[in-house]
């Protein structure tokens, strides 16, 4: 017998709720925005209408797309280094307690210091602007991966640790076959946070670098548009950043689901 939750009608309703509902809400909001701006004759340099923002996006598409690429390059490189260095450092710190005691306080100091206050120093010290942006974005992105992975590595089931002891597992075997798989859900949780933070880090760093007159990322386009009072273009760049953030979140959520879908409670669909 087919359960009511799997009938075609129910599936369609679920699909409508999941996709059509938020899109409809967004479309309604845009319509309201367009209507409110036109009706009240709000100047475009105060609040441009969605149509005007769309026009600005079309007109300046090439410049904005190139800027988006520049921001994406910094974002993904920062995320890549956040993953490799974050996971690597988490392994080192959890394998040797004295390393954790020696290094972790300084890692936390780096994390709690606002990146906007460090960015000018990094730009002066490093010299190369792209490397500086990368370091700033990495500084923001790597801590969630480090702390989550450390927590995961330390959360292996004690009975499983005992089991590995009974079978004479080496430290390396325990790491590869027990601690790393145990840490996977925690790491993926950190990855979801760090994906967005890498973008935020890249944009903030571009803002700081942009004040020095250099920059080609989307943040610089926002600054540039602000100086020139091209507010629709400013909004267009802002929307591109938001959409990029959403796409990064969706991508990391998908990666997480792919790794966990067969065994972890967070990703397994419950039968009803």
């Amino acid at each position: 017998m087919q359960s009511s939750s799997s009938t075609p009608r129910h599936l369609v309703i679920t699909w409508l709720k999941g996709i059509v509902a938020p899109l409809s809400f967004g479309a309604g909001l845009l319509l309201f925005w367009q209507f409110a701006v036109t009706w009240n004759e709000v100047p475009h340099y105060v609040l441009p209408s969605p149509a005007r923002i769309g026009e600005a996006l079309m007109e300046d598409w090439v410049t904005l797309a190139l800027s988006l690429l520049a921001t994406l390059k910094v974002t993904f490189l920062a995320l890549f280094f956040a993953i490799t260095i974050g996971v690597g450092l988490a392994i080192v710190l959890t394998q040797w307690r004295w390393m954790e005691k020696s290094l972790l306080p300084y890692v936390i100091v780096l994390q709690v210091t606002p990146v906007v206050s460090l960015a000018p120093l990094i730009i002066i010290w490093v010299g190369d602007i792209n490397t500086s942006l990368l370091i700033c974005a990495w500084l923001v992105a790597f801590f969630p991966i480090l702390s989550n992975t450390m927590l995961g590595l330390q959360s292996a089931d004690h009975n499983l640790v005992d089991l590995f002891e009974v079978y004479g597992a080496t430290r390396w075997q325990k790491l590869v076959h027990l601690r790393l798989p145990s840490a996977m859900p925690y790491f993926l949780g950190g990855l979801k946070i760090s994906g967005g933070l890498a973008l935020i880090g890249a944009v903030v760093a571009e803002f700081v670098a942009g004040t020095g007159g250099v920059g080609s990322g989307l943040a610089f386009r926002i600054l540039e548009s602000g100086y020139q009072l091209r507010i629709p273009r400013m909004f267009a760049a802002l929307i591109m950043i938001s959409i990029t953030g959403i796409l990064i979140y969706l991508a990391t959520t998908w990666v997480s689901w792919m790794f966990l879908r067969k065994w972890h409670e967070s990703a397994v669909k419950r039968e009803v």
Binding site: L163, F164, E165, V166, G168, A169, P181
Partner: protein, 257 residues
Amino acid sequence: MPSPLIQMHSVRKQFGEGVVAVDNMSLTINQGDFLSFLGPSGCGKSTALKMIAGLLPVTSGRIDITPAEGSSEQDLGFVFQEPTLTPWAPVFDNVWLPLRLAGISRKAAADRIRRALADVGLSRFEASYPRELSGGMKMRVSIARAMVTRPRTLLMDEPFAALDEITRMKLNNDVIRLAAENKLTVIFVTHSVFESVYLSNRIIVMAARPGRVAADLTVSAPWPRDEGFRTTAAYAEECRRVSIALKETLSESDIDH
């Protein structure tokens, strides 16, 4: 003449400066024994088992285990109270684990893994993940994993305590069959008088605070046993005898239960 496999000499276990979990425990476990540690919570039976497994160091005293002849493979299987499976790996890989840690490839281990799974009736489930199995099936996987190295000794720490009575009875029969077929020495920790009498040919009743041997009883009924034994007068009589020993131990231990 039975040959001694494990010998505990005046073993004492104290955690830090605090609780003495086991005190002055001396015991000889012979090859082929099916021995149960029976006692109340906190009497040190799991601690004693973990010391035999090498998971806990003894504070004083000594545990001697006669080495296996010509075998370098894992000589000891351990089944925990929980199934203790890796949730990220399918059943096949969970059973492979002890062999994998010993450096045996998946391909080389495949036959043995399939045989171990067949022995516990789970051949059809090798690709399933632990979350897809019932509590009893998970425990069967845990037993298959312990058996895949063909150990001489199987240590079981209240493995069926969380299971329903019917599943527990079935698994009791499985353990007896596996022990008889493989000529295993089994050390089984339990709270249950009925389970200990059904399974064992020897029962060590333990007293608490500190944990120590209170009685060393032999269950003389023929072994291996089957379901029919549960309804015999001999079973009832053995249960009565062990219950009396346990009751005396509890009154001596002066603890609330």
